[in-house]
Symmetry: C2
Subunit: 257 residues, 2 copies
């Protein structure tokens, strides 16, 4: 324990953060290996997209929770870009499409009713708990930790670059137009994570605050990992689908009692 106590500089901090990503980011999770390798069936991919929708839907809320406690107008102005990216800009269609709309298009392309997805009824409770934990973390911890918990985006471009060709090659029910969300994140994520990394390098100015930054990233990796564990358990390993959660057509009859 306390593996990241005593970091003496911004350089040591960044090295530790990259090490955490290399060890704990959810690209390593067996469910993602199955997803990207074309080894899931359509119902399992639907379950993933549906549950990940809940994560997408809460991202702008957690970003708003950060704005809501931030006294620095400059930081608010930078951070606002994230909400614009996910929700779209004011002005309806003129404001441009947001990431949540793109995610719903992916869900629809996979055969899910967007009204069902947006109604959030079939989400796995464990996914809901993990995502809500992220929102509470951002609202309750220090501003530095709230910023640091976004740093999984440092590792996102790699997973998207693997996911797009993997899913297109692996599934005849996935088309290029459904990959829109990921293509755009390839440029958005590096911009956001670059800003957040600069921020924590500058503002974490003691070994204690650098350790808190590391722990915030570990927490966030846990949030992502727990979502995949829940999907893997319910929809791949046969652990049973919790009552009320989405049952793919090809798994009817396999829900938990």
């Amino acid at each position: 324990m306390r593996r990241y106590a005593g970091l003496a500089s911004a350089e040591e901090l960044e090295k530790a953060l990259r090490e955490i990503g290399a060890e704990r980011y959810h690209n390593l999770h067996p469910f993602h290996r199955l997803l990207h390798g074309g080894r899931l069936n359509r119902g399992q991919v639907q379950a993933w997209a549906l549950n990940r929708y809940y994560y997408q839907s809460r991202i702008p809320m957690k970003d708003a929770a950060l704005l809501a406690r931030c006294t620095d107008p400059g930081l608010r102005r930078e951070w606002l870009q994230r909400i614009l990216d996910h929700d779209g800009a004011p002005g309806g269609r003129e404001g441009g499409e947001g990431g949540i709309e793109r995610w719903l298009r992916l869900c629809e392309g996979l055969g899910l009713d967007p009204v069902y997805v947006g109604g959030e009824t079939g989400i796995l409770p464990a996914v809901r708990f993990a995502v809500d934990a992220y929102r509470h973390f951002v609202a309750e911890r220090s501003l530095l930790e709230a910023v640091a918990s976004s740093l999984t985006e440092l590792f996102a471009p790699g997973i998207h670059a693997e996911r797009i060709p993997g899913m297109l090659a692996g599934y005849d029910f996935v088309s290029e137009s459904m990959m829109g969300y990921f293509r755009i994140r390839l440029t958005q994520a590096p911009r956001d994570s670059g800003f957040a990394l600069d921020y924590v390098r500058e503002h974490a100015d003691s070994p204690e605050s650098r350790e808190a930054v590391c722990n915030a990233l570990i927490f966030k990796c846990d949030v992502l990992w727990a979502q995949l564990d829940a999907l893997h358990h319910a929809y791949v390993l046969g652990g049973g689908i919790p009552a009320g959660a989405f049952v793919p057509e090809d798994m009817t009859g396999r829900a938990a009692s």
Copy 2:
């Protein structure tokens, strides 16, 4: 959906609540069937006791969150008993032992270091997220929903009555003195759940509020179920132990990368 919309009376509400318990309480979970049937190994039982400690440790905090928002001194006075039961009364040893101490004795009897358990480092992230969701629910929802979310205790005596002889018969490493927590809950839980049931029968005075009570109990069943899903996934089905979580001696080398 909306299965519990339109409940017209306290009798219909109570019937619905008992139905929810019969369908969703965690006595039905496969992990509990394994635990009570003597079919887990010592490391798996340790993992259960360790993770359940986190739940035990947060119960008085969620009860305090209820007190913290309750303007009725009478309700506070009744509800305070729950904190006394779990933490013990003021006055140290003179105040009597609390449930958390009893749970630590169970952990110690199973071969876990109580300092390690109390340090909360090995807890599965999914268990942490589920338990914290319960605490946030009690702090944020209506007082009626906060009270209602305790109603899983209606079904607790049954599970304890099954667990005590099941674990004593099934495991040579479990002794009578380790079952102290459950023996005492056999009388505490019916008193608490009787009070909470009377409370929701009286205060849920519309179909809408009765539905909210049902949904609060469903939420709480999800909280308990998700904890067992996480244990089942990591320690039984081979889904991988998340980085940082407890690794039983007999599972060394099986942790996730």
